[in-house]
Symmetry: C2
Subunit: 457 residues, 2 copies
C-alpha cells in the first residue's frame, strides 16, 4: 500500500505545483498592516486544503495578532507515534519590488525554479507535507502516524503569539516529535538535517537631536547631527573584523567543541561557489573561525536598516531631527535574547553623547536550540532522505533562527527534526525568492518515507 | 513723490500679501521631477507679474534645467546706477509632510507668521522687491534706478545652469551692484546685513557589499554588511567635537582675524534663546570657537540623509546589498568646492575596507564669498534699514550658501548687498517654513528706501 502513495505523489506533481502556486499568490506579508486581509485569506485557504485532504479537524484559531491554524488527524491510533508538523503561512515583505525579475506574488517557473515570495520560506516547504498527507489519504485512507499541524502567521515578525499559544494548548499539542521544513539543504544532491539553530535579538534604535529638522547652513557646526551621532555609535558596535564590542555580549556563548568543529569541517564547502552565491569578492568576519563556523555557530550583528534625513533624489541641506536603525544579532547557545537586547540598549546609552538622546526598542527575540543527533526519529529521517535523494543527509548547524524549536523543547518536551528542502541561494528575505521544483517533489517523497518510517519504529 | 511710494506700499499691504500667497501656492520643487510643470507655472506667473507692474522686458529663458527669468527696466537713464536683483522661484521639497501643521502649499497666516514652503526661502523675500517696484511704478511711473532681474529655478539644487547663464550673458547682466534678499535678520527689530557666506560641497556616497540583498541568518558574520561599513566610514569623518578629519580639509581655511572675531562677538546673542530656537538642550561643535563663529565662519560637515536595508515598520533580517548617504560640507574662504569634494572622495576610498566598494558622487558645490563692508552701496543699505526698522543693521557672516555672490564677483565684477528679511527660526528646508508678515511689509519699505538712496548717490 505504501508504494502506492509514492506513485500517487509522482503522478500528481503538476497538480501539487499548481496548488502551491495558488497559495503563493496570496500576499500574506505579516509585517505590513495593509496585508491583514491577505493574512486571513491565506489562513482560510490553508485550512480548507487540510479539510479537503481528509483532516477531521482543522481550525483557524484567533490570537492577539495573526491567526494560527491548528489541525489534527489521529486515525493511526494510540499505539502509533504522533508527529507535530510546524510551519508558517506568512512571508517577508517583497520590497524592493524593482529588483524582482518576476512579480513576487505571481509564481513563475523558470527551468527548475519556482520564483515567488514565500516559495522557499515557508509556504513551499510547508506544502510538501500537506501534499504527502494527501497522498496517504488517497492511497491508504489516512496517514500511518497521528498528525497534528501548527501553522502560524507571525514567524517573520518574531512569533509574538506562538509561545502563549503553545503554553495555553500544551495538551492539545502533545506529540512525540516535531517536524519542521523551514531550512535548506546544502545542494540539490546534498540532503541536510539541521541540528542547531541560532537565536535572535532584534532592536530598533532612534536617535533624536534637535526638536525639528533644521537648515544645516544655519545650525550646522553647532547642533549635533543625529545621523552623524548614530553612525559613530554603530561604528563602535563591532571592530573591523566583526568582533562585537558590546560589553558582556560573548559571556554566555558556548564555545565550539573540537569534535563539533571537526564535524562542521566535513561539510562540503567550495569557497569559490560560496563567494559567487553570496555575490561578494571576499568573505569577512571573526578571525579564527571558518566561514561555516561564522555563519552557523557564532553570534553576529547586522544593521538591517538605517534611515534619516533627506533620502529622495537630489540635494537637500537638512540637519534632521532624528535618525533610525534596525539592528539584529544572531545568537548561539546559551545567549538569551532578552539579556542581549538589554546589553545593547545599555551600551547605546553609554555611548550616546550628551547632545542627543537615544531610545532602543526591543522588536523581537528568539532563543537558539540544539537537538539530539542520536534519536530514532533522527535515524528515520536519515533513511527517508536516503530513499528520496539517494544519499544520507549531512548534519549541520543553521545560521538562521527558528525559535519554535526551543519552545517545543521547553514547553512540550520534544525535539524537532529540521527537514529542509530549500537551497542556500533561495534568496530568502530578498528579491527573487525561489524553490527548486525538483526539491519540492523530492520533499514530498521524503515526507512520505519519513512518516512511513516513524510508523514502523 | 517718493513719499507717495511708501504710502502706496502701506496702503496695499493686503493686496501684496494675497499675491504672495498665490505665488506660494505653486509647488515649484526643483529637485523632484514630478514638479517640472509647476516650475514652468511658477516662472510664467512671476514673468507675468513683472510685465504687469511695468517691466518693458521680462522673459522666461530656457536653460538645460529649469528656466531663468530675466527682466529689465532701464527708465532711470544712463546717469543712474543699475541694480541687478537676484532671487529664486524654486523651493525645497516639503517632506516630511506629516510634520507640517498647515499644508505646505496652502499659505496660512497665523498671528504675524505666513506659513508655506518658500515663504522665506526665497519667494517671500524676492517678492518684497517686486512689490517695491510696483509702488514706484504706481506713484512715479518707474523706479529711480535702472533695474535688472535675474531669477533662477535651480538654487535648491546647486544652480547648475546659473554660472553658464551669467557667463554667456555678461553684457546683458552688467550692473553696478547686486541686491539679494535670501538671508535672515537676527530679530524682528535687529536688521542685519550679511557680508560673508559659506560655500558648499555636497556629495552622495554609495557603498556596495554583496551583489544582492542576502538573508542575515545565512550570510551574516561572513559577508561584510554595507550599512555597518558605511557607518564606520562616516564615524571617521569627524572627531567627537565635530573637527573634520578629512586629510587636507582645513588647509585652505582663512583664519578668522582677531578684529573680525571681535566684531562677531558684538552680535546680540542669547544662548538660551538660541538653544530654544534650535530645539536642543546643549550646543555642540569645534572647541575654541563660539556658536556664532561655528555657524557663520567655520567649515562644517553634516550627513543630510542616510538610507539602506529595510526601513518599513517591523523587523526584516536583511543583509542589504547597498547603503547610501548624502553628505554636505559648508565651506569658508578660501576652500574650493571641487577640491573638497575630491578630498572627501579620496578619503572614503582610503577608508573603504576591501570587502565593499564605495562610490562618491559630487552632487553640487558653490563657493563662499566676502563682500566689501565700506562701499557707498553698503552705506545706502544701512540708511534704508534704519529708515524702515528704526535702527542701523548689524553686519554678520552667514552660515548658509549663496554661491551666486561669488559668481557675480568673478564674472560681473560687482559686489552684492545681502538684504535679508527672514528670521533665524523661519524653518528653512524644514517643515512649517514661515515668514513674518511684518518683515515682509517692512522689507518693501526697506527696498523702496534702498533704491531711492542709490538714485541719490
Amino acid at each position: 500500500m505504501t508504494s502506492t502513495c509514492f506513485d500517487y505523489a509522482r503522478a500528481h506533481e503538476n497538480q501539487f505545483l499548481d496548488e502551491l502556486k495558488a497559495f503563493l499568490q496570496i500576499p500574506s506579508v505579516s509585517t505590513q498592516a495593509e496585508h491583514r486581509p491577505d493574512m486571513i485569506r491565506a489562513a482560510v485557504w490553508l485550512r480548507d486544503q487540510l479539510l479537503a485532504i481528509g483532516f477531521p479537524r482543522a481550525e483557524v484559531m484567533p490570537t492577539h495578532g495573526h491567526p494560527i491554524i491548528y489541525a489534527e488527524w489521529l486515525a493511526a491510533g494510540p499505539e502509533k507515534p504522533t508527529v507535530l508538523i510546524y510551519g508558517h503561512y506568512d512571508v517577508q515583505p517583497p520590497e524592493p519590488f524593482e529588483l524582482w525579475h518576476t512579480p513576487p506574488f505571481e509564481p513563475t517557473v523558470i527551468g527548475d525554479n519556482l520564483f515567488a515570495r514565500g516559495a522557499s520560506d515557508d509556504k513551499g516547504q510547508l506544502f510538501v507535507h500537506v501534499k504527502a498527507l494527501e497522498a496517504f489519504q488517497q492511497t491508504a485512507g489516512a496517514p500511518p502516524v497521528n498528525i497534528k499541524m501548527l501553522i502560524e502567521g507571525e514567524e517573520e515578525i518574531g512569533s509574538p503569539s506562538l509561545d502563549p499559544f503553545i503554553r495555553e494548548h500544551q495538551d492539545l499539542l502533545r506529540a512525540d516529535v516535531a517536524l519542521i521544513s523551514d531550512s535548506h539543504i546544502l545542494g540539490k544532491d546534498l540532503p541536510t538535517i539541521v541540528y542547531a539553530l541560532r537565536g535572535m535579538a532584534y532592536v530598533e534604535v532612534e536617535v533624536t537631536g534637535p526638536a525639528s529638522d533644521l537648515h544645516s547652513g544655519i545650525y550646522g557646526g553647532a547642533v549635533h547631527n543625529p545621523i552623524n551621532a548614530l553612525c559613530a555609535m554603530i561604528a563602535k558596535l563591532q571592530d573591523e573584523d566583526g568582533r562585537i564590542l558590546i560589553p558582556g555580549f560573548y559571556d554566555k556563548v558556548r564555545d565550539l567543541e573540537p569534535e563539533e568543529r571537526a564535524e562542521l569541517a566535513k561539510i562540503p564547502f567550495d569557497r569559490e561557489v560560496w563567494l559567487a552565491e553570496a555575490g561578494v569578492i571576499r568573505d569577512w568576519g571573526e578571525p579564527g573561525y571558518t566561514i561555516i563556523e561564522r555563519t552557523m555557530a557564532r553570534p553576529t550583528l547586522d544593521v538591517n536598516g538605517i534611515w534619516g534625513g533627506y533620502t529622495q533624489p537630489g540635494a537637500k541641506t537638512v540637519l534632521p531631527a532624528k535618525a533610525f536603525a534596525k539592528i539584529s544579532m544572531r545568537l548561539v547557545p546559551d545567549q538569551k535574547p532578552g539579556e542581549i537586547s538589554r546589553l545593547i540598549a545599555e551600551y547605546f546609552r553609554a555611548l550616546a553623547p550628551a547632545t542627543v538622546t537615544v531610545e532602543v526598542r526591543d522588536l523581537h527575540g528568539g532563543e537558539g536550540a540544539i537537538v539530539r543527533r542520536d534519536s530514532p526519529e533522527m535515524a528515520a529521517a536519515f533513511r527517508a532522505y536516503k530513499a528520496a535523494f539517494g544519499r544520507e543527509p549531512i548534519l549541520v548547524r543553521e545560521g538562521g533562527s527558528i525559535p519554535v524549536v526551543a519552545a517545543f523543547q521547553k514547553m512540550l518536551g520534544i525535539d524537532t527534526i529540521l527537514m529542509g528542502f530549500g537551497l542556500p541561494d533561495d534568496n530568502l528575505h530578498a528579491p527573487n525568492e525561489k524553490l527548486a521544483v525538483s526539491n519540492f517533489h523530492r520533499g514530498v517523497q521524503t515526507s512520505l518515507h519519513f512518516l512511513t518510517n516513524l510508523a514502523e519504529l
